[in-house]
Structures are given as C-alpha cells and as structure tokens.
C-alpha cells in the first residue's frame, strides 16, 4: 500500500517510514510483506493502555533501488520511538533470515533505522529481538548478503538500534541522524547535567550526530536529508561492501584501538576533529553536505573496510 508518495527533494527527517520506503525505492517497485491490513500487532501494549499500530511500527518488503533488487525494512520513529518490540523486531529478524537462507531472494537488505532502542513495555522481547537480529545479520553477511543501515530520523539509532547499525556492512547517515547507545537524556538523568547537558543541542549533535559519526569513521557515507540524498549515498556504499571474516574483525580491532588511543583523551568533538587533522574544526558545524563529504573523504580514519 502506498502512503502519500514523496519524491526526490522531500526531507527524510520529517518523513514517515512509509514515505521513506516509497521515496527511496524506484516508483511502483515496492511490495510489502505482512502489511497493516494483516493486523499483526503487538499483543502487549493494551496491558499498558497504549494504542498499537497495525504494522507494529515496522514496514518490510521488497523493491528496487535504481533497478537493483533489495529487501527493505523501515522503522516508524514516531510510533513508540521506533522501538524494538516483539512483533516489530520479529519482522526485521525474519527479513534478514530470509536473505540469509535464500539465495534466490535479493542479497541486499536496507535497514532504515529510526529507533530509540528497545521498547520498555516489551523490554525482554525487544532486547532478544536485537540479539537475534545481530546474529542473523552476521550470519547473512557471512553468506554474502550486504546489509546497509540508513540513519536519519527523529529517533536516531540508539541502544539496540545503535548496536544493530554497527553490525551492518555499511552505515549511511545524514546530518540530522544520530547514533549512540545511551541517549543524552538518559546520561543526564543517571550521571548529572555536568556529564551531559541534554538540552545543549550543539553538544548532542557533535556527540551522536551524523557529521561526527562520518568524520571519525562511525559511518561510511554522509547523505543529504532527502530521498535523493539517501538513494545516492546508499548506491555509493553498495559499490564496495566489506566481507565479514577474521581479517575484517582484526582490522576493526586495530581501528578501534587506534581511535581510543588517538581520541580517548579529547574532551569534545572539536578537539577530536582537530586531532584527526582537520584544519578548521569549528567550521564543521555549519558545513554543508558536499563540503562535509569532501572533508571526510580525505580523512584516513573515516574511510575503511573494517566493520
């Protein structure tokens, strides 16, 4: 089923998951699996007097990206923060397992992550869903499947979603996208405002935001906040996808050890970027996408196959 379709220039950040799927994929190419009319919803939310969604906030299916056959999953970040519940998690899990086990299915999976992590009301099921998904992604990658994370929505990719993103073959992120484990508010609540002032937007974006992630090598491509932007960036990373093996993990061990040594003493993002050799790190904040991409492409730590 199609939502009111968005094309080309329309923003990714403000779009619904459904709009992102139809906006990203080639027009008319999308077939949904277990769509909303199937009413496969959360059995747990009514216990908390919370409304459920017909698709439990995840859209899965198959389509084409510039003519390439893909499987796709998109989280609706506006529904329960895009969180992993039993059903929403199982839908993504099934999709990745399908690619893993069936060579006649598309061997590219696009994960449009927009999630604050595990759904509290279904915490144990959500946590398990992430664990099972991470295992399935690794197994799929071993079988030659390319799993690409696209991050750019309001909920970011936090908690289990942040770990899921970092299990994928490649990560695409926009300026508005954020990836992390504990969100700024959680850190502020637990450790105090001196540790992390969650109201300081610039601080939040320089910590978890797309520009930082791209520059330090926590994301592999930087996308403009539009359907075209994500399509171009996804296409770019699909050209070269690292295999998942001992060599890759050893390289990642080296990369992460070097990063800890190089940047571990930095107090803020600007000092990290300066340490990476960026001449005018203060200018990063207002840099446009083209300039950020050019800058990132020149940083050794930002361009690697070690994921």
């Amino acid at each position: 089923m199609e939502d009111i379709a968005s094309r080309g220039k329309s923003g990714w950040f403000d779009a619904t998951a459904r709009q992102r799927v139809t906006g990203l994929l080639d027009p008319g190419s999308f077939t949904e699996f277990i769509g909303p009319s199937e009413r496969v919803q959360s059995p747990h939310l009514k216990m908390f007097d919370l409304p459920s969604a017909f698709d439990d906030g995840v859209i899965i299916g198959r389509g084409e990206l510039n003519g390439r056959d893909v499987l796709i999953a998109a989280q609706e970040g506006q529904f329960m923060g895009g969180t992993f519940g039993e059903v929403s998690g199982a839908k993504i899990l099934g999709l990745v397992r399908a690619a893993r086990d069936h060579k006649d299915l598309p061997q590219t999976v696009l994960l449009l992550l927009d999630s604050g992590g595990v759904r509290l009301q279904e915490a144990n099921a959500g946590e398990l869903a992430v664990a099972e998904l991470m295992r399935a992604i690794v197994q799929a990658r071993c079988a030659g499947v390319a799993v690409i994370a696209l991050v750019g929505g309001k909920s970011g990719a936090f908690g289990g979603a942040g770990l899921t993103a970092s299990t994928c073959s490649r990560i695409v992120i926009s300026e508005q996208g954020r990836i992390g484990v504990s969100g700024p508010e959680v850190i502020e609540t637990n450790k105090g405002v001196e540790e992390f002032d969650a109201q300081d937007k610039a601080l939040v974006w320089s910590t978890d935001g797309g520009k930082n992630r791209r520059l330090i090598g926590g994301a592999d491509a930087f996308a403009e906040d539009s359907m075209d932007g994500f399509r171009v960036a996804a296409e770019a990373v699909l050209a070269k996808v690292p295999s998942f093996d001992l060599k890759t993990m050893q390289a990642e061990q080296e990369r992460l050890t070097a990063r800890q040594q190089q940047l571990g003493a930095c107090d803020d993002a600007v000092s990290m970027w300066r340490t990476l050799g960026i001449k005018d790190p203060e200018a990063v904040r207002d840099m446009d996408g083209k300039d950020l991409t050019a800058l990132a492409n020149g940083i050794k730590e930002a361009n690697h196959d070690a994921r």
Partner: protein, 103 residues
C-alpha cells in the same frame, strides 16, 4: 483502551480502484487510518481503538459528518488513535478517502 464502532449507510459506494490504503501514524496528537474496500453495497463500518475515554460523542459526530460529505460506501475504516484532535481525525479520513479514490 476504548473500542468504538459505527455503522452507516452512505449515499453511494466510494469510487476508485484501490482496495486498501493506510494513512497517518500512531503518535501523540495523530492517528492511523486503515481503509479496506470490503463491505458490500453502500454500507460503511468504522472501528476505533482509542486510549482516551469520554469522547464517544465527538467521534460519532466526526464520523457522521465525514460519511455525509465523502460518501465512503463499501469501506471498512479502522482507526488506531494516538489522542488526535477532531480536525486531525477529519484530515486523515479525507486523505484516506482520496487515496482510495486513486487509480
């Protein structure tokens, strides 16, 4: 959670070829509307799941008004409400109806 349902006889069946459509998101101040062309004749059924109590009459009025203006005969309309205002409900119903009228 509160479950409400309303049955109406519209003036005529809703034109168009789409057999189902979905619009909106379950979020604060928003709602999701699923429309399915599954009911015979010009009948129309609306089922609503909402976390707010005490608005039965408002729902009834909005639905009745929508049926009168847009004649959604043949449609089963299912709503998951996140606590939307009546004008947002009306907007989604109109958007949904427009989707169903598409070729």
């Amino acid at each position: 959670m509160q479950m409400l349902s309303f049955k109406h006889t519209a003036r005529s069946r809703l034109p168009g070829k789409k057999d189902k459509a979905i619009i909106g998101v379950v979020a604060s101040g928003n709602l999701e509307v699923l429309l399915e062309r599954v009911i015979p004749g010009a009948e129309c059924e609306v089922a609503i799941a909402t976390p707010l109590t005490g608005y039965d009459e408002t729902w009834e009025a909005v639905i009745a008004d929508f049926v009168e203006r847009f004649s959604p005969g043949g449609l089963r309309i299912s709503i998951n409400d996140g606590g939307a205002r009546p004008d947002t409900v009306y907007l989604r119903l109109m958007q949904g109806s427009a989707l169903m009228e598409a070729d």
